[in-house]
Amino acid sequence: MKGPGVQAGSVEKWNWAVIREGAAAAWPICLGYLPIGLAFGVVAQKAGLGLVEIGLMSLVVFAGSSQFIAVSMLGAGAGFLPIVITTFTVNLRHLLMSSALAVHLRSAGKGWIALFGYGVTDESFAFNMSLFRQGNWGWRHALVVNHVSNFAWFASSIIGGLGGSLIPPGSFGIDYALPAMLICLLVFQLRGPVYVIVALVSGIAAVLVSLILPGNAYVIIASVAAATTGLFLSKKTGTEKRET
């Protein structure tokens, strides 16, 4: 697992500091997962899942929307295969995220990459991408963030299954923790006019496609279209971007 640094300036090794820094940085993600994990626990418990099943699903699947969909499909008596296929299609967007993350995992061994793949979520992806760019952030830090977030997701879904219905929904505006985090992560990514244009194209395209197509295919369609727009724009303006 030794290799060239992920980026200049990041000579990262496994030590307590890496674990501490990664874990400390992850708290906004954990806060964002809390209400959703609680809600999942409540919903899953109502659909007849036991605590072990809830916890196992949060550990093994670790994908919010898929888990909600799976539980509601189970409740509606859907079969095994439709649920698995739905899960697969809902999470296809991770193909794009992992492709973008891959460049930062060049120095990671196969086993670490296998472990890293398990923790790729919308939030940890966007979070780690913005930190990779700042330097002093390598795949080990990112891996810690992934797993701390996963634990928060697991724990909150268990708490939800235990007695989340006792917590009034919407307390302290906590339902907005995740949207607020995504908004800030978007701000981190606006690194120049082209990025702002890509954001606008993607957002508007996503809204339009989401009104036409059911499901969440709009994320992939809009992102591919917007990134392609960005590619052509940067070719036209001849903007050279610093790349690893």
């Binding site: 908004i183 082209v194 890509v198």
Partner: protein, 106 residues
Amino acid sequence: MGNIFLLTLCMGAATYLPRFLPLFFFSRKQLPPWLTTWLDFIPVAILSSLILPALVTGGSPRHLDIVTPELAAAVPTLVFALKTRSLGGTVVAGMGIYWLVQRIFS
């Protein structure tokens, strides 16, 4: 309900493969420059495509819904994020703003 365990494992595989395969293949390959540039736009594109529909659409089947506390709270949250560039701060501020906006809406 014994099937749930098998279902969970299959769902796990279905979520794991799209996460793992690109990491595995693309971390070992030298990508052409155009692809690196293209991938560089993926984070901003994904974030925007996740956020905006959640703010301005709702219901099932989905329709435009502009007058929502989510959208009303998004504007000051965005300004806060732009000014402070603090992730934790924005999360906490966003929660507070949303809480206030909900009072106004109800």
